[in-house]
Symmetry: C2
Subunit: 513 residues, 2 copies
């Protein structure tokens, strides 16, 4: 099908990074803001985030959590207390030192030297410590447990190299923080939230993921266990799409989160934390995008169906708009995927063909184009974004009757949601290589599969400490990292490819974002 | 009814400010965070905000706006460009000067002197200028207009004196920003959004408001017109609950927002902006609260109906819970006020009576208490929060059958929503004094009505410049401000009470938050 004239300039196969940037700009999702490392999220990008937020929030509330809001500023003292925290990831932070601007006498403004804060404040890179402080106030007795909180907020990490959605200095996320009576309760909850993430990623975002435990070296600083969901991008790299941490009593001790147990003595709580972010949108692009732009899974599409009248600035337009409005009402009155169908009748000025390609690039699941001839015939010209091209390299329009099209919409949206998941799952499964039995084989595999090599599942002996460090260094030389130990993997059968000792579990190794 | 033992210690009539603080703490809405001027919004307070946000967002989207997200940091240059802006309100701002923390060698952390930003960044006090920059990029032709954007975000203003929800250094808000072809379009839109605010305040929050235009001295810096909705608190003070500004081409010129008009020449856009914030929650407390705590209007109540089983840690509990769960399902299966009813079966450990008073203080609209005897009789003990006390000073329980109670719920929630609005509207109307015909009468009125004097509507000649300044000073001596020029007020009949010149309109003067 080399005669297809794709809607983007860059090709995934040629330059994945350039293609990624082009999708973001062609789908009008986000742009650079002019403020270092911060992006402007435009309506289509933010609309997708609002959908993710709504669906994820429903799942988080359904598991018993309440949302709270905590201050954006965190006192320095909280970071001093949590030295481990700081060393882990949070050295690069935005620090507020003044609370007033004054004129510099040369037409500019400067921070007022008389308005220096006694103690600088940090713009939150995470709310771990300030929520810990609150939990210490809120928890008194076992009756207050489990304490299940969540927050939707913006956070700031001063990143040196940024890439839209994947790594930005400011990003949007949710962070859940919970406190429990026992280690078992807290561990169960850690896995419950991992399952919430898996279900949201797979069922809502159509992102197939591998859920599993991170190795010791990839744990969140201070965590006892870190679990993740990992999604495979179309370039074969892994994207960590969500993490869930069992923190033992480490954070409870640092923040003084104690409760009186059923026997009347003071105990430290076992806590968990877990988060997902606007990074998920980067994953959606890199999993579902194609050479014509983005393809948005219907569940998270701000508009699922676009009706495009071919207006001609003539008197016939009125009848055409009425025909389209009737169709809009027929579709809007139905449900798909458990919600009212989100249908947009796009009346904006502009050529219908140009607008069609805008919606193709944005990835709206279904486009219904309607001109005078369609109206005469009582039909619509229907384009399914995930089946865009016919065999002869033309847009694969179908022309059902208007009533047929409306009636087909619930099943069609369901089918697109499923098709996007199935395509991604098939690609992922085809690109996980198993049976690599030695380090040499691993090296050969990545040497021979330069462009998009995918992931490799190997058996290992779960080394720890210095032995693990050597494994990490070995992998680093191949630009590889250990992603996780998949839940439900096959039993081990042989030796560790790194140490030669008997293997105890399987791990996924991959290049990663 | 002096024999009533109210659920709060403070009384509105005695000390309104202390009462306000007690409601926030007794209803478990928010607390001090330990970070200067920033609060922690707890589940019940944040749940109310989520409801407000959802209903307001639906109204904003229904008027054609898309949500976007803009960076939290704003370069100094933007404020330098907008000198008027800075003088207006934004001098006190949180200034980020460093991007790294390092150890000070004494166990503490300090901003790294080597990581000083070349240009300091300001934590947004509003996104006016950065959204202006984006609009300048996004608008090219008349076809791009109107451009209708909105943002939900946190903003920071370094307030010297803070009060929870009413004035905090960090607060949550929405800010709408739009660009239009003509002055008429922009002015119409300014009023359209004022009407959205009025409708949301009155129909969703049950807050009766007076919508009108602000006088020149109360305009947003740079605005051509500023409009507001003003709500009357139970202490007779006014709370500005939302503002909508017509900005002419002032902001378009500052940011370079230009479009090619239908004739092909370059024009500046006419812009608007408008905002509401978590301040609304302060208004809800001060309008609907009573000496037993908060009363939440059903439309914005996170839980509208609470089912409280009187558990006894005995084997009978199981049957009681089953009885309650059946009731919960009956209620949850119904709609009230256009949405599924939000009902909570509260199984938390604790005495039922103590839990009842917790929910009274939080202001859940309906409480259904169910003990063994209720179950035997097939009844429930029902308490309506807005009709809490019977004539003999006891909680005014009714005991309908379980099925009657469930069936009554939609009408009951509707009635509570209406009753809260009607009470507030009646109180407001009773406390707006008209017919004050001279400045002396105004002075006498406020001298004679010390505690909760309410508002006064007077006629004035709409002076401007220095003459207006004198009016403002005169009012300031009485601790009064001009709230607005009510839309739809009676025609004027006499002279301006300040200047003696013929009056041209009516204004509301009041003490205000």
């Amino acid at each position: 099908m080399s005669n297809i004239r794709h809607a983007l300039t860059a090709r995934r196969a040629d330059d994945f990074a350039a293609w990624y940037q082009e999708v973001i700009s062609a789908a009008d999702m986000a742009e650079e803001s002019g403020v270092r490392g911060c992006m402007v999220i435009k309506p289509w990008g933010y609309g997708i985030w609002e959908r993710i937020q709504r669906l994820m929030d429903d799942r988080i509330k359904a598991t018993g959590h309440d949302n709270c809001y905590f201050p954006i500023f965190i006192p320095l003292a909280n970071f001093e207390r949590e030295a481990a925290h700081v060393e882990g990831f949070a050295k690069e932070m935005a620090v507020v030192t003044h609370h007033r601007l004054i004129a510099d006498g040369k037409g500019g403004l400067i921070p007022d030297p008389d308005a220096k804060l006694e103690e600088p404040l940090v713009v939150r890179p995470t709310s771990e410590t300030i929520i810990g402080d609150a939990m210490a106030r809120w928890v008194q007795s076992w009756r207050d447990l489990p304490l299940l909180t969540n927050q939707w907020a913006n956070v700031v990490r001063w990143e040196m190299r940024t890439r839209m959605f994947l790594r930005t200095s400011e990003f949007l996320w949710q962070e859940g923080h919970t406190a429990h009576e026992t280690a078992d309760d807290a561990k169960d909850h850690t896995l419950r939230m991992l399952e919430v993430y898996r279900a949201c990623a797979e069922d809502d975002l159509a992102l197939p993921v591998i859920a599993g435990e991170k190795p010791e070296n990839e744990r969140f600083p201070g965590a006892v266990e870190t679990w993740s969901i990992e999604a495979m991008m179309q370039d074969g790299k892994a994207l960590q799409a969500g993490t869930s941490h069992y923190l033992g009593t480490n954070f409870a001790k640092a923040s003084g989160i104690q409760y009186q147990d059923r026997e009347g003595s003071q105990q430290y709580c076992h806590t968990t934390s877990w988060g997902t972010s606007t990074r998920l949108i980067g994953g959606i692009i890199m999993v579902h995008g194609d050479d014509d732009g983005l393809r948005v899974p219907p569940r998270i599409a701000p508009h699922q169906v676009i009706i495009l009248p071919m207006l001609r600035d003539k008197s016939e337009d009125e009848a055409l708009l009425a025909y389209c409005e009737e169709l809009r009402a027929m579709i809007a009155g139905q449900q798909a995927l458990g919600e009212n169908i989100r249908v947009l009748l796009d009346k904006k000025p502009g050529k219908a063909a140009a607008k069609r390609w805008d919606w193709v690039r944005k990835g709206a699941p279904i486009i219904l184009e309607i001109g005078g001839r369609d109206m005469e015939n009582g039909t619509v010209s229907m384009l399914r974004r995930d089946q865009l091209w016919s065999a002869d390299g033309k847009p694969a329009f179908e022309t059902p009757s208007r009533e047929q099209a409306a009636a087909a919409m619930p099943a069609l949206l369901d089918a697109v949601q499923k098709a996007l998941f199935d395509q991604a799952a098939e690609r992922r499964d085809a690109n996980i290589t198993r049976g690599v039995g030695s380090l040499t084989e691993l090296e050969t595999f990545y040497a021979e599969n330069q462009t998009y090599p995918g992931w490799v599942e190997v058996e290992w002996s779960k080394p720890s400490g210095a032995a693990l460090e050597r494994v990490v260094e070995t992998l680093k030389a191949l630009k590889l990292t250990i992603r996780n130990v998949p839940i439900g993997a096959e039993p081990v059968t042989g030796a560790c490819i790194f140490t030669g000792a008997p293997a105890v579990e399987r791990i996924i190794v991959a290049r990663a974002y």
